[in-house]
Symmetry: C2
Subunit: 209 residues, 2 copies
DNA sequence: TGCAAAACGGAGGGCTCCTCCGTATAACAG
DNA sequence: CTGTTATACGGAGGAGCCCTCCGTTTTGCA
């Protein structure tokens, strides 16, 4: 549910609304939308600078709103992550689909794994966001989760069909591997090592024909 | 060096040493040793129950000592981890050496990776401990780090010599992979997935001839 | 223009981290 | 055994964070 702007589930209590059924709710207030935006960009900054553990009060402070406002819009830290990184997760999923369409199956997969690491390397809070999205916390994230699966599925499907990788791989496997390889980011040389691990992993995918 | 009880260095009673040199230190107080032990087992329990984020004050409470005492013995959370998990890390390193000696190179390596996951699956705080040890924070952990490298090196060395895996693998690669594969522990089915990822990874190690 | 619904903000309770320092006590000398 | 003194003890206290609750303000809508 997220800050309450979900379209669905309305369950309008009366008034024989059509299938569209939603209690004729007031239009969201202007200040609400404004604050939501302020919070998102403040959070992006704060997470970038301080990592995913950064203080939420700091986010509210930077956004220039009260802490109460932050919690109303994003009841949990996770919800805030979802808001901040949703579009990045999307981009990654899209890239998967594009690569799947443009490159030979095996190569596309390998390339995508490397790209994913690149993205995570730059966006500091991204790793957490991905992990959360992968866990698929309840309904939250369901959208991102869906996109992610579709993207990875596209890569895997083609490669399996072409007989280039083992057939028992599922989308979550790819995400977990990528996230795992970045788990130790922060120490010297992690980037290079992650690259190597990805290559080994990609080799492994096609090894057990 | 940890809380100051560097093992031997008897260095015993010299008179007239340099003003700094090495002061003939008193024998550690009995209550100090006792409290140290109490803290370690309390920490083991608390971390097992509450994960690696558990409150240090809770540890002190359970140990029945003041918070100040905890901080004197273990100035940081990391130091406490080191104390609690040192022997487990050792065990893992030893197992690497044993497997390397008892099984065919490739098989030994694969088997060890699986074992490592098993251990981490059971010991709740272990993952953090390993990650810290791998990062090799300063001098702390240097002992564990050393043992770990030796263990992994034994596995890798034999496999490379036998031409069974690629030659550019270093010990840290193995640890990072293992830790990474466990990064998502906690969600349903992670155990099974981690096993699969390990197999893929092991395949990949020998794929690039 | 007026009225609620919706949003705002921040005080406050509860918890944690970590430091500091007066008090207690174990090791050692005489 | 007794006195000295280095060490260790414990917990109060300052600071920060999380999250809730509620009186106040703003805004959409009639």
């Amino acid at each position: 549910m997220f800050a309450g702007y979900s379209e669905g589930s309305a369950q309008a209590m009366n008034k024989e609304m059509g299938p569209e059924g939603d209690k004729a709710r007031r239009k969201p207030r202007a200040d609400s939308l404004r604050n939501r935006e302020k919070l998102l960009s403040a959070a992006a900054e704060v997470f970038r600078e301080g990592g995913p553990e950064a203080s939420l009060e700091a986010v509210a402070r930077r956004a220039g709103v009260g802490i109460g406002t932050l919690y109303r819009h994003f009841p949990t830290r996770d919800a805030l992550f979802e808001g901040v990184y949703r579009r990045d997760v999307d981009a990654l999923a899209e890239m998967a689909e594009r690569l799947a369409a443009e490159l030979p199956p095996g190569e596309a997969l390998r390339r995508w794994l490397h790209c994913a690491i690149d993205v995570i390397a730059v966006k500091k809070g991204m790793l957490e966001a991905l992990a959360l999205a992968t866990e698929g916390k309840q309904e939250l994230f369901s959208y991102s989760k869906c996109r992610m699966n579709a993207g990875a599925e596209a890569l895997i499907g083609r490669a399996v069909a072409a007989g280039e990788i083992r057939a028992d791989v599922v989308p979550d496997d790819l995400w977990h591997a990528v996230i795992g390889f970045c788990a130790m980011r922060g120490q010297p040389g992690w980037r290079e090592r992650a690259g190597r691990l990805v290559d080994i992993f990609a080799d492994g995918l096609s090894a057990a024909l």
